[in-house]
Amino acid sequence: MVLVLALGDLHIPHRAADLPPKFKSMLVPGKIQHIICTGNLCIKEVQDYLKTLCPDLHITRGEYDEETRYPETKTLTIGQFKLGLCHGHQVIPWGDLDSLAMLQRQLDVDILVTGHTHQFTAYKHEGGVVINPGSATGAYSSMTYDVNPSFVLMDIDGLRVVVYVYELIDGEVKVDKIDFKKTAATTHSAH
């Protein structure tokens, strides 16, 4: 059982002062094995904070990030799964699932995590899963009205991943989950 925290679009301090206290109290160091962050932190303090939760931290560049040297995309393998990470402002139309699926094919990953829209989505198709963890602080977005703070926790176990989404709605943390099983046939072989 490997826990992967996926979050992003915090926009601290441009659009939000801090993570919601209820989230902060849930995110305790030592419980998570990997953190993948879609970008737009925006300042180093946030990176430092995430690093305290888990040393294995992966970040891709959002357009407002203070650190300009984060990569545009990143791929990593966790257990049986290949994960891809990208902020998403590079994929036009923004939030369009078919265009995101194209990026997924390009990166050749089972799970693609992107952000930018501040809207939580999780989309299963034959090629894999496309996840948007939303905005962890509920930051303003030109694309989404009434953003609820949200983040995603993935539990990777063998060929199965359970995606838990945590949303702060009216002051209460609500949890939902989605299952995804990878068939052995979809393991990729190089040409």
Partner: protein, 790 residues
């Protein structure tokens, strides 16, 4: 030579102890054989060792303690003697025959102890006799120890109320009288030490005096333990007598120590009830006495007393404690015009803490204290001294900690005035303290007036104050400061749009004075606050009967335009461009076509004129395309102009692959799912074909420059775009076109001159798999895909 002196002292002490022990030995022998005469003889000889002048108080004490122990045994013997029939009166007589006065008096006190215990005479009489007789010793060190001995042996024999030695007086007057007299005499001896000996040894003398002070202070402690002293007696006789001695002795060391002693040993309720008298003594003390420390400790005690229980608070009000303390401090400061500023602030700091504890609801009192502080600070210019500024930070933090709320602190009119006197560095420290307090307590600052007051307070962070040298500030510290200001801006909010707009304007006014280094930090949060307000107003119907001055999205956009403009001058063009695009999207949602167009214009101008870095251009153009793609407010002409510009710039990016990607991204500008009038299949195809041409050119360039044609990734990407529009139903994209693309990729991949690229291979493979998936879905989609051969 000090070393020698110490060595000598050690020798003398050793000699003294030896002599003492020897005589003690003989004394014991005499005691064992009940030989009173010899016992007295040898005890007197033993006590003669205490006649020495050679020892410092520290060493004398060692000698004294041994003598003390021996005298205890002697006392027990005396007690036995009286039981055996010897008359205590006779004994009392007998010991006075000792040759030298010091041993005589020690013996007298010892017998006196037994005399009192025997109750053959009233305690008060014996004590009176003893305390008077001790006057015989006027040498300070010897006299102090002698009287200390008297105090020790008499402690449990005072004619206190309820004590067995009470006598028929039914009052503790005599006990008090005794202790006071002993105290007075001891203090006189102690003070006399100051003037003994040459001036160059003053420091040594003062150190020695310090070693002896507890002997004097003990008397006050004893006084505080006397049961028979009630508040009235304390007020009427005890305190006045003690203070009289303290004031009249005119000795700095004694005054400081004894005032503090009084405050520490007597109960807080007494202090409250005698506040007038106590405070009245302060101005009468020597000017060199560190009154501020004593006063501060008094206020600290009273603060803790107030904090201990709510029941005691009415007492404070009844005695008008605040007014009296305030006055006293004022008088002290007036009497000592040369008091260093640190002293003044410490006093007011203690008073403020006191006020916050005792009168938490009386903001006017707290304000008064701050006002007095301001008055004293005025005319001194800004404070430079480190300790003083630290005290001011403590002074200003106290209300913040107490009220947990900057809003309440803001009600103190003198609060900002005190801040004025801080130098820039300390102002920044204080500002940070204030911001942290707000963030920790989640204080809502919800009116423009409060925002104005707050920003005045923290102006050290907001702009360069006079004399500040910005270059000296550490860059990381500066960033942290400005980021905290940015976070603060997030917390300024009011649900009511009119007030919120006022808040935004107030913040804007202040941050625009911050200079080019600060604007990139402070403008974005302000912009997003404004955009949130726009969204809020969007939801509300425009009131046709509304006033001219009411806030509308249009007004806010005007403000935004002028605000973002300031960034382009810094220069921070990428940030400004991003913010313009955000505003454009918001204007789009409000159906304000000209406003949205204007924002796009500004964005394009920045792109053309200010953004020259290749990487920045790629990001910028993608943001422009992405935003433009979502616009629904533009009419055909406007949309065409902007689209034309976007595609033009896409094709002009530096590197061919980047050009290719930007151009095929532009294809989406001509096909928007939820807008039926934006589905121009031909122009989509034109874009994709253009992208294809660029990809081809890239291949040829690569071949010419490096001898190999480079990766086929671009072709696979374009293929995917073809599939996208094919699926969406663009009639211009047919199976043939897709098929030829697939063949192109296959051929290129197998060609010798191509660079092997596993990523591109995998991409192509997953694309082909995707085609298969779609075929297998069946239905209309499956039929569409059926003819495509992988």
């Amino acid at each position: 030579m000090i070393a020698d002196g110490v060595e000598d002292e050690e020798k003398w002490l050793a000699a003294g102890i030896a002599g003492l022990q020897q005589n003690a030995f003989y004394m014991h022998r005499a005691l064992d054989s009940n030989n009173l005469r010899d016992a007295l003889k040898y005890s007197a000889q033993m006590l003669s060792e205490l006649r020495t002048s050679r020892l410092s108080p520290h060493k004398y004490y060692e000698l004294y303690m041994r003598a003390f122990d021996e005298l205890r045994k002697l006392e027990m013997f005396f007690k036995e003697e009286t039981r055996r029939g010897c008359s205590i009166v006779d004994l009392y007589e007998l010991v006075q025959h000792a040759g030298n006065i010091l041993p005589r008096l020690y013996l007298l006190c010892t017998v006196g102890s037994v005399y009192i215990k025997s109750k053959e005479a009233p305690a008060k009489d014996v004590l009176k006799d003893l305390v008077e007789m001790c006057r015989g010793i006027q040498h300070p060190v010897r006299g102090l120890f002698l009287r200390s001995y008297l105090a020790q042996v008499s402690r449990d024999k005072l004619p206190d109320i309820g004590s067995e030695y009470e006598g028929d007086a039914d009052t503790a007057v005599d006990a008090v009288e005794f202790v006071l007299q002993n105290f007075t005499e001891m203090n006189k001896l102690w003070v006399r030490m100051q003037h003994q000996g040459p001036a160059r040894e003053k420091e040594k003398r003062e150190k020695e005096r310090s070693e002896l002070r507890d002997l004097v202070g003990k008397n006050l402690h004893v006084l505080s333990q006397i049961e028979g002293i009630d508040l009235d007696m304390y007020k009427d006789s005890v305190l006045p007598r003690v203070l009289e001695q303290v004031v009249n002795c005119k000795d700095e060391i004694a005054q400081y120590y004894l005032m503090d002693c009084i405050i520490q040993v007597f109960p807080d309720e007494y202090h409250l009830q005698t506040l007038d008298v106590l405070l009245g003594a302060f101005p009468q003390l020597q000017p060199t006495v560190d009154i501020k420390t004593v006063l501060s400790r008094l206020m600290e005690r009273l603060s803790n007393y107030a904090a201990s229980s709510a029941d005691v608070l009415p007492e404070f009000l009844q005695v008008e404690a605040f007014a009296k303390l305030n006055n006293a401090i004022g008088k002290v400061i007036e009497a000592q015009p040369d008091m260093p500023i640190l002293g003044v602030i410490t006093l007011y700091s203690s008073l403020l803490t006191f006020t916050l504890h005792v009168h938490p609801d009386r903001l006017d009192y707290a304000d008064q204290v701050l006002g007095a502080c301001v008055k004293k600070l005025s005319g001194k210019g800004k404070l430079e001294e480190n300790k003083a500024t630290k005290q001011i930070v403590a002074l200003l933090s106290a209300p913040l900690d107490k009220y947990n709320d900057i809003v309440t602190a803001l009600k103190l009119s003198n609060y900002p005035r005190v801040l004025e006197y801080l130098d820039t560095e300390t102002n920044k420290v204080m500002s940070t303290v204030i911001i942290q307090s707000i963030m920790k307590n989640k204080t809502r600052i919800s009116t423009a007036d409060r925002v104005e007051a707050l920003f005045e307070l923290i102006k050290g962070l907001i702009k360069d104050l006079d004399g500040a040298v910005l270059d000296e500030v550490d860059e990381d510290d500066f960033k942290e400061e400005q980021n905290s200001v940015a976070r603060l801006i997030q917390l300024l909010h009011n649900d009511e749009p009119e007030e919120m707009f006022k808040i935004i304007c107030t913040v804007r006014k202040h941050i625009l004075g911050g200079g080019p280094k600060r604007l990139p930090f402070t403008v974005p949060p302000l912009v997003f606050s404004s955009l949130k307000l726009v969204r809020q107003l969007q939801g509300q119907e425009e009131n046709p009967f509304g006033e001219e001055e009411s806030t509308t999205p249009k007004k806010i956009f005007q403000l935004l335009n002028q605000t973002v403009e300031t960034l382009s001058n810094i220069p921070a063009p990428e940030l400004a461009l991003q913010l313009y695009l955000q505003c454009a999207e918001a204007a789009n949602d409000c159906d304000l076509e000209p406003v949205a167009y204007e924002f796009f214009t500004q964005a394009f101008i920045l792109y053309e004129e200010e953004i020259s870095d290749s990487r920045a251009q790629i990001t910028a153009i993608h943001l422009i395309i992405g935003t433009l793609q979502r616009m629904h407010v533009f009419g055909v002409e406007n949309r065409d102009t902007l689209t034309h510009k976007a595609t033009g710039y896409s094709a002009k990016l530096l590197k061919k692959p980047d050009q290719c990607r930007a151009v095929y991204a532009c294809s989406h500008l001509f096909w928007v799912d939820d807008q039926d009038n934006v589905k121009d299949g031909e122009r989509v195809l034109l874009c994709l074909k253009r992208a294809l041409r660029i990809a081809n050119a890239a291949q040829q360039m690569s071949n010419a420059a490096r001898g190999s044609t480079g990766s086929v990734t671009l072709f696979v990407e374009i293929l995917n775009k073809y599939l996208y529009f094919f699926e969406k139903g663009n009639p211009q994209i047919n199976v043939a076109a897709i098929q030829s693309l697939i063949e192109l990729v296959t051929t290129e991949m197998q060609s010798d001159s191509s660079t092997p690229d596993p990523a591109a291979d995998a991409f192509f493979a997953s694309t082909l798999r995707y085609i298969e998936f779609q075929k297998q879905k069946g239905g209309a989609l499956g039929e569409k895909y059926e003819p495509i051969k992988a």
